[in-house]
């Protein structure tokens, strides 16, 4: 073949290749242009779902649609272009047009779960419950657990309205399999079993509702408000039915606030709280909880307004004064600090045992004094050695208990690493482990959750928090308990030691707060030492004990036995050094101030 022949062949090859691939290349080009325009045109509500979008830039969206339509003109089977075009129509709240676009994709790619799931979203937008369920299930559910569960609940409601309780029960069962924490579905099943007169089935569901798992407390991280609303309605009904007592509801809400206030979860939680508040306003000071949610989310203006409303509705709600003090203090201005001092002072008149309240009040007053501002609420703050301060000092407490001057008490270095719980690794404070003795033999069933308390730690930014949502003591099994346990033992030489920490507790009837350090009586003490309920106030616990073993080592374990809420902070273990003039009394000594 000559040179010309080669050139001709090359040109022919390139031309043929271009002719064959050209339409696809054009489709790829327009798809890229359309995708970029779409990304700039809309702010999707859901990261993974087709739905009307926020902040739509109509011109750019129109340009995106034009590019995507052009892509499909070049290559009608183009999957990416079809899905993007459907997304664009859905963003404009045009689900039927979007469905038309995806119908072809579903015909070309019948096994593609993403196409099925997106069609499910569109049917969900239209309100075609049956089709939405069918498509979500055809798409293997994936990230659509929440909308599928919601549609299953809706379908069940429709069946109930038609008197087909058995059909509804199947739907509730499917919802429950998908979302084991779905209280609404479980309640629906309970109704069904009651209707049938099936005592065993009803008992099983009742037990499940009473002994719920952590999934029932978790707030779904999803921007679909329907599920938290259904959950909120179910929570209110659980109290109405007597399956939960108001204390359980309070503990569940407290945990949800502590764990799920941020981001999307917080928005969902707000809907949930509003739903419960609307149905059972008398159960709790719901305004206070909504205020706490705003507070935790950093919306201080809203938090202040809601705390004030809560206080107007419930004048004896002293904790609202403390929170108002915290909100005012966070402003950082002289006026804010003065307001904070005044709120704290009013709070302390009602709850004088709360050492954190005293500490915050003193700090606010000191800040005002430094600015040369005097207010009546701070009149007593200038005392050199105030009584509340003495209640917090280890040396002063030891001196008082042993009957010696404070100067004679010498305490060694704190031996507890991360005793302030400031550093966390995943769900546990660094250097500590979560200890949960419940459910498996020999311990009784219970649900405990541990985590960081960030709203009102005693000091710093975090405390360690333990929540006991429910506990069901069983004969022949040990009491359930859980808490945080120091990961590494602290070796001790013989001598006297002081273990101290701040704690705050709000306990269910029969619950207790315990401290454990070792299983050997000669190493400080064996077994648990009990601390009283503080009804939400931060108080100081101090234990004096002796180590008589040369090979002694301790691992402090701070925990909750039974239902309630407890937080710990500022844990310290120090050697009590120096010659003490008086022989210590019977040890170990437990002091709570």
């Amino acid at each position: 073949m000559g040179s010309r022949g080669r050139w001709a062949l090359c040109i022919l090859l390139i031309g043929g290749l271009g002719g064959a691939l050209g339409p696809y290349a054009m489709a790829v080009f327009h798809t890229a242009q359309g995708a970029q325009a779409l990304a700039g045109a809309v702010r999707p509500v859901f990261p993974d779902r087709l739905a009307p979008a926020h902040g739509v830039d109509a011109d750019r969206l129109q340009a995106a649609i034009a590019h995507l339509q052009a892509a499909l003109a070049w290559d009608p089977r183009h999957l990416a272009a079809r899905r993007l075009l459907a997304q664009a129509y859905a963003a404009q709240n045009r689900p039927r047009e979007a469905l038309e676009v995806l119908d072809r994709a579903a015909a070309d790619f019948p096994d593609d779960p993403m196409v099925a799931l997106e069609r499910g979203d569109l049917y969900d937008m239209i309100g075609d419950v049956e089709a939405a369920i069918r498509e979500y299930e055809r798409g293997h559910v994936g990230s659509r657990r929440v909308p599928l569960a919601v549609n299953l609940l809706k379908a069940a409601e429709a069946q109930v309205a038609q008197g087909h309780l058995d059909q509804a029960a199947r739907l509730w069962q499917r919802a429950l399999a998908l979302d084991p924490g779905n209280l609404a579905a479980a309640l629906g099943l309970l109704d069904f079993y009651r209707h049938l007169g099936d005592a065993d089935g009803a008992a099983e569901i009742t037990a499940r509702l009473r002994r719920f798992g952590p999934e029932a407390v978790a707030v779904p991280v999803d921007l679909d408000f329907r599920l938290p609303r259904a959950q909120g309605r179910a929570m209110a009904r659980l109290v109405e039915e007597g399956l939960w007592d108001p204390g359980t509801l309070e503990r569940v809400v407290a945990v949800q606030l502590a764990r799920s206030s941020g981001g999307l979860e917080g928005l969902m939680l707000e809907r949930l709280l509003q739903e419960v508040a609307a149905r059972r306003p008398e159960l709790r000071p719901w305004t206070f909880y909504l205020a706490e949610l705003a507070h935790r989310r950093g919306d201080l203006g809203r938090a202040e307004a809601l705390y004030r409303t809560a206080l107007e509705l419930h004048p004896d709600l002293a904790v609202a004064l403390r929170r108002l003090g915290a909100v005012a203090e966070a402003a950082g201005t002289a006026e804010g600090t003065a307001a904070a001092a005044a709120f704290y002072w009013r709070y302390l008149q009602a709850v004088p045992e709360d050492l954190r309240g005293w500490a915050r009040w003193a700090a606010a007053c000191a800040a005002l004094r430094a600015r040369g501002i005097a207010i009546p609420a701070c009149a007593e703050a200038a005392a050199d050695r105030p009584a509340w301060g003495v209640r917090m000092e280890d040396r002063a407490i030891v001196a008082e208990v042993l009957g010696v001057p404070a100067a004679a008490v010498v305490l060694g270095e704190n031996r507890v690493p991360n005793g302030g719980f400031e550093a966390w690794e995943r769900e546990a404070p660094a250097g500590w482990v979560w200890s949960d003795m419940s459910n498996r033999p020999p311990w009784s069933p219970a649900l405990f959750l541990g985590g960081a308390e960030t709203l009102e730690p005693f000091a710093g930014t975090r405390a360690a928090r333990v929540d006991g949502l429910w506990a069901a003591p069983e004969a022949g099994r040990k009491e359930a308990r859980a808490g945080f346990w120091l990961a590494q033992p602290i070796p001790l030489s013989p001598g006297l030691y002081v273990l101290s920490f701040m704690y705050r507790a709000r306990l269910a009837p029969g619950a207790r707060v315990g401290v454990w350090v070792s299983e050997r009586p000669e190493v400080l003490f064996a077994g648990e030492r009990w601390l009283p309920d503080t009804r939400g106030a931060w108080r100081k616990a101090l234990l004096i004990a002796r180590n008589e073993a040369t090979d002694g080592a301790v691992r402090p374990l701070l925990r909750l036995w039974g239902g309630g809420e407890v937080a710990f902070d500022e844990v310290a273990l120090r050697a009590l050094q120096g010659p003490l003039p008086a022989a210590p009394p019977q040890l170990p000594l437990v002091v709570v101030r």
Binding site: V28, A32, A35, P113, M114, H140, V141, G142, L178
Partner: protein, 440 residues
């Protein structure tokens, strides 16, 4: 050109017909490339983007990953409810934290214009990037054989073997870092061949340095180049410096240049991912450590041998019974040809044969040291890790055949016979794999 064209056609065929995600660790390799293409940068230890993971998992459902692979790996199918993360059902292979390879950058270049396409389209483009590297490799192999002074028939047969080698084509038509590492090793090998054949040449030095550095930024299988380069430099400098060069000035040059090359490589290699990995492995090396997992050496060698020639998918789809025996027979014939030649038709300079053998041994030794000396070694009982030695290996196999073939055979019969046998073997192995995937 013809063989390169054939390599392109075959590579495209393999890339198109092997179902998506049906190659070892293809999910993870693609994930790296995809993230680079999307983010425009290396994201370090990748925290996969949720949108990517959702699309990926959905694609695994479409392409029967549960039936073809997951069941074999874990004994389970994909869950009925589609998880949102790969690690929810496949702990074995998801991300390889902190691992960087220039191969991912190369693949990302192919993804860039199509980064809004569906994942499978992008996967095919990433596979295309491997096919392109393989075509370049075939072209380079031809050059190397020329540089080594192989007769044309031998060079054609060896290059054709590379083209028709089922496992080689399969691996080099899927998404992984192997093709780039192999190409890099081939560049370094070409450089040495050039240096040995023609004396000190800048392009030879540049190829050795460039190929080695490229390999050390590509994949751990190129780690052997550090040792190989050192030995080759020693041999090269020693021979030419002490004996071969014409004048003392030349002798000093022959001593100085390899020494400088080694110093430069040593300094540069320490900063590469593969260099650091090799150093860590070397420090932790313990003879027999790899066998503690319970895998026997003969098992390791058998699996490696089988997967050197034809094991598709996640190295779980083998060739039909007896196929491996045919390859073994060809290997034995080649050995016989080298030991007891019946023909000298395909003869090459002694240094070039020695160099090919030494290069192959270096690759083998590096792999074997890793397999027996590190705890994770037995997991690497896969022939693809020996592919950096594919070019000299193919030449030695073809050369053995040429020497085994009776003197009376003409050049055409010698070449055509060899190529014909391999074409047949390839058709059988590949047909078997296609039956597995598409046989219903």
């Amino acid at each position: 050109m013809l063989l390169m064209g054939l390599a392109l056609v075959r590579g495209l065929g393999y890339a198109a017909l092997v179902p998506p995600w049906q190659a070892p660790d293809e999910i993870s390799h693609f994930e790296f490339a995809w993230h680079i293409a999307q983010l425009g940068r290396w994201s370090g230890a990748p925290a996969p983007l949720p949108a990517f993971e959702r699309e990926l998992v959905a694609s695994l459902y479409v392409w029967r990953f549960g039936e073809w692979t997951l069941k074999g790996l874990t004994g389970r199918l994909l869950p009925a409810v589609m998880p949102e993360r790969v690690e929810d059902f496949l702990a074995l292979s998801h991300t390889m934290p902190g691992r960087f390879s220039l191969a991912y950058v190369w693949q990302a270049l192919f993804l860039l214009p199509a980064r809004h396409e569906d994942l499978v389209t992008q996967l095919y483009l990433a596979r295309l990037s491997s096919v392109v590297l393989n075509v370049l490799l075939i072209g380079l192999a031809w050059r190397i054989y020329g540089e080594l002074g192989l007769p044309q028939g031998w060079a054609v047969a060896a290059t054709a073997l590379l083209v028709l080698w089922p496992q080689h084509t399969f691996i080099n038509a899927t998404v992984n870092e192997g093709p780039l590492a192999e190409l890099a090793a081939a560049v370094a090998f070409w450089g040495w061949a050039r240096l040995f054949a023609r004396g000190l040449r800048p392009e030879g030095v540049a190829a050795v340095l460039g190929g080695t550095m490229l390999g050390l930024w590509a994949k751990n299988t190129a780690a052997f180049l550090i040792g190989w380069d050192a030995l080759a430099a020693l041999a090269y400098g020693g021979y030419w410096g002490l004996r071969g060069a014409a004048s003392w000035r030349h002798r000093w040059a022959y001593l100085a240049v390899p020494t400088l090359m080694m110093l430069a490589l040593g300094a540069l290699a320490a900063g590469t991912p593969v260099g650091r990995w090799a150093w860590d492995r070397l420090q932790a090396w313990e003879p027999g450590k790899g066998m503690e997992a319970g895998m026997l050496l003969n098992q390791t060698l058998r699996w490696t041998w089988e997967s050197l020639w034809a094991r598709f998918g996640w190295i779980d789809v083998g060739a039909p019974e007896g196929w491996g025996g045919m390859v073994l027979l060809l290997g034995l014939l080649a050995i016989r040809g080298w030991l007891f030649p019946r023909s000298r038709a395909w003869s090459a300079p002694g240094w070039s044969v020695g160099m090919m053998a030494a290069f192959g041994m270096a690759v083998l030794a590096g792999w074997l040291a890793f397999v027996v000396g590190t705890p994770e070694g037995p997991y690497y009982a896969q022939g693809r890790y020996l592919f950096p030695a594919a070019i000299p290996g193919a030449a030695l196999l073809a050369g053995g055949w040429g020497r085994w073939a009776p003197q009376g055979w003409g050049e055409g019969a010698r070449v055509a016979g060899f190529i014909g046998i391999w074409a047949l073997l390839d058709a059988v192995a590949w047909g078997w794999a296609l039956l597995y995937y598409y046989g219903g």
